[in-house]
């Protein structure tokens, strides 16, 4: 059984902060298919269209019939641990610093035999396990075997924690805690065991209903933060930037106009100022300190979460300028992800369905409730994905977009507004 994590001792300031190292990150283009699926939280393996063989590791051709007609198909990961071992030596710096390290060989029910990282609660071979694909610190897919059934405290497993961004005992900044989502997210992160949550608020002379209750939580510290104000962002980064382990950017400016429905560019500019430039300001001020803390002990800097929108994938014309600002933010988030890669800090992009708030009032259901979205964001931090699409609309749009982005563009153009 995993022993529950204990709060890490305070950092000894005379010791050098460990420099981030990464597990091996090189992948062939075909092997990146595994990463592409893991990024969405799925285990997918190549399946031969001709002879139905499921194969691993990824190859250019079927290992049985040499067909090149290979499709990535989702697998449930169920299998049998046939042997397990504990590594005590590695020439890879990342593993060398984390010894001992448990590995296992698993015969998947779908066919292939794989080598995977082995959760501490997996019984010695032979035993039943589930294999998952997680994005690891190098940003690549890694296969991880966990027990067939959940065990107590399994999230606290040392090896698993190296592949997740669990908020437990970490310090979290929620950039806009004033909205319904921001408020419930702060509460959800506290419930997930965060040591400290900084709850950002702009224009504090406007008091939204419910905001006062956050200040009553002992883990919560209210901090002034307006992403449109470069000096405010810099000031806060100067105060707390060196301590933030997880940054969740919930700041969002949302109005409901296309091009023709509103004269001028003021609304579009305000959306850009928060949704795009706000992310840029945050990244310039907060990312540098997080980059050097990618291996800062048990509670290192691990994740940066962007609240985007499923509208970032394809423009939703009734909310056209908002969609454009979210597409811009998505592009910038890719740059941030690349710049975070050497530090092992994961950038998680959240593409929610329309949130059930005042700016989506006129949209018909289904809409995602803020409390549900907050739970999904915490779940993403505990999981292995880097792109998450909470809610039914987001899942539906994602599948249509992956199938045929041009078709989705046409469909959205004729949606009722």
């Amino acid at each position: 059984m995993t022993r529950p994590l204990v709060r890490p001792p305070r950092k000894n300031p005379i010791l050098r902060t460990r420099v981030p190292t990464l597990p091996p990150g090189g992948r062939s283009r075909v092997a990146l298919g595994l990463t592409a699926a893991a990024a969405r939280g799925r285990l997918e393996l190549q399946v031969c269209r001709d002879c139905r063989t499921v194969q691993y590791p990824p190859r250019e051709a079927c290992r049985v019939c040499l067909s090149q007609r290979l499709d990535w198909r989702q697998q449930d990961g169920a299998g049998e641990l046939v042997s397990d071992t504990t590594l005590h030596h590695s020439n890879e710096l990342f593993y060398r610093e984390r010894m001992p390290w448990r590995l296992g060989m698993i015969k998947l029910d779908c066919g292939p035999v794989i080598v995977a990282h082995l959760h501490g609660d997996c019984a010695p071979a032979p035993s039943r396990v589930r294999v998952r694909a997680h994005i690891d610190r190098a940003g690549q897919a890694a296969l991880l075997a966990i027990p067939e059934k959940d065990t107590p405290n399994m999230a606290d497993d040392r090896q698993l924690r190296e592949m997740t961004c669990d908020p437990k005992f970490r310090k979290v900044l929620v950039t806009d805690a004033k909205t319904a989502l921001g408020q419930t997210l702060v509460e959800a992160v506290v419930a997930a065991g965060a040591d400290l949550v900084w709850a950002g608020y702009a224009e504090h002379w406007k008091k939204p209903p419910g905001f006062e209750r956050l200040s009553k939580l002992p883990q919560v510290s209210l901090v002034p933060l307006d992403l449109t104000d470069s000096r405010a962002v810099k000031d806060l980064a100067g105060e707390i930037g060196g301590r933030v382990d997880i940054l969740i950017n919930t700041a969002d400016h949302h109005r409901n106009f296309g091009i023709a429905a509103r004269d001028g560019i003021e609304v579009a500019r305000a959306e850009m100022d928060t949704n795009y430039f706000g992310l840029l300001r945050l990244a310039q001020e907060f990312a540098p300190a997080m980059r050097v803390r990618g291996a800062d002990g048990q509670s290192s800097a691990v994740a940066w979460v962007n609240l985007l929108s499923v509208f970032a994938l394809s423009n939703f014309p009734p909310h056209g300028t908002y969609s454009a600002s979210k597409a811009a933010a998505l592009s910038l988030a890719q740059c941030l992800r690349a710049e975070f890669a050497p530090a092992g800090v994961r950038v998680i992009n959240v593409f929610p369905s329309p949130i059930d708030d005042e700016w989506n009032q006129a949209l018909p259901p289904p809409k995602i409730a803020p409390v549900r979205l907050a739970a999904d964001i915490v779940e993403a931090l505990r999981g292995g994905a880097e792109d998450v699409f909470p809610g039914d609309i987001a899942q539906d749009w994602l599948s249509r977009w992956r199938d045929n982005p041009k078709a989705l563009e046409r469909e959205l153009a004729v949606m009722p507004r």
Binding site: H204, W205, L222, P224, S230, R231, R255, G264, E266
Partner: protein
């Protein structure tokens, strides 16, 4: 003759027998801006971005780019700002005759009333009482409503919002009409975020100070400070907006020339007049 007056002014400025009082709030991202329903067009708050600071972006110099609304911080309202003044001649910041930018001021001390009632409305009775003590309001004067609202350094107290909106003092409709029609004032200045009271949307007409003042070609000044350092009469106000083409207003530096011999009124309840270097409070 006029040359001698100006020379005399220079001498008195140098000797301190004429003081210069700065009536301007510092332009800062922390200063709140006017609150409108979020679906409406908004006034930009003051924002500033560094262009370079003796660094790779400009090795020997420091400068910034800033952005704000015409109605951010201590600012001037031109008649074209309001629909009632939109067809008047010389109604924008670039066409207002420059002579209007220097004028005497009458300072109405409403600090006690505003302390007792955030929704205090200035009335004709109040104005007539003031005239009994200080003389008839001269035509062409600024009317400056002192409320000590600028002493509310916390933006929460300064904005004073609740579920029914903003609660700040201002004039009632009759007082504005009296000042415009019967005293021919140059304009109306306030310490709060607008010349009108926070609840003035519910007056008849809505926002009477904007409606009547600008409809009659008069001006507004808001977010003033240091009005407690001015005498009831005798100060000269210099308030020249930026020459923005078709500008509806502009942030500006407002200065008052005050004879040193004139004592400021002892009516203020607040004794702390330490003005230098104070900053608007940021909540942490």
């Amino acid at each position: 003759m006029s040359e001698s007056v100006l020379l005399q002014l220079a001498v008195e400025l140098a000797s301190g027998s004429v003081r210069v009082v700065d009536l301007t709030q510092t332009l800062s991202p922390d200063f709140p801006q006017i609150v409108l329903p979020p679906e409406m067009g908004q006034a930009w708050p003051f924002r500033i971005e560094e262009a370079s600071r003796y660094d790779a972006r400009g090795p020997g110099w420091y400068w910034n780019n800033f952005s704000c609304s015409e109605h951010t911080g201590t600012h001037f309202d031109a008649p074209i700002h309001w629909i009632s003044g939109r067809h008047l001649p010389d109604n924008s910041t670039d066409t207002i005759p420059a002579t209007r930018f220097i004028a005497p001021a009458c300072v109405l001390d409403c600090s006690r009333e505003a302390a007792a009632d955030a929704d205090f409305l200035l009335t004709v009775d109040f104005l007539r009482n003031w005239e009994r003590r200080h003389g008839r309001i001269p035509a062409g004067s600024w009317i400056l409503m002192r409320t000590d609202w600028s002493k509310r350094l916390d933006p929460v107290a300064y904005q004073n919002l609740d579920e029914t909106g903003q609660h700040t003092p201002g004039p009632d409709a009759d007082a504005v009409k009296f000042l415009v029609d019967e005293r021919q004032v140059l304009g109306f200045g306030s310490e709060a975020i607008g010349t009108d009271a926070g609840q003035a949307f519910h007056l008849k007409p809505p926002y009477p100070c904007h409606y009547y003042m600008h409809g009659s070609g008069r001006y507004g000044l808001q977010c003033l400070t240091n009005l407690d350092l001015l005498p009831p009469t005798g100060a000269i106000v210099i308030a020249a907006p930026l020459k923005i083409k078709e500008g509806s207003g502009s942030p500006l530096r407002v200065l008052a020339l005050v004879p040193a011999a004139v004592r400021t009124p002892a009516r203020s309840s607040d004794k702390s007049v330490k003005k230098k270097g104070r900053t608007r409070k940021k909540r942490r």
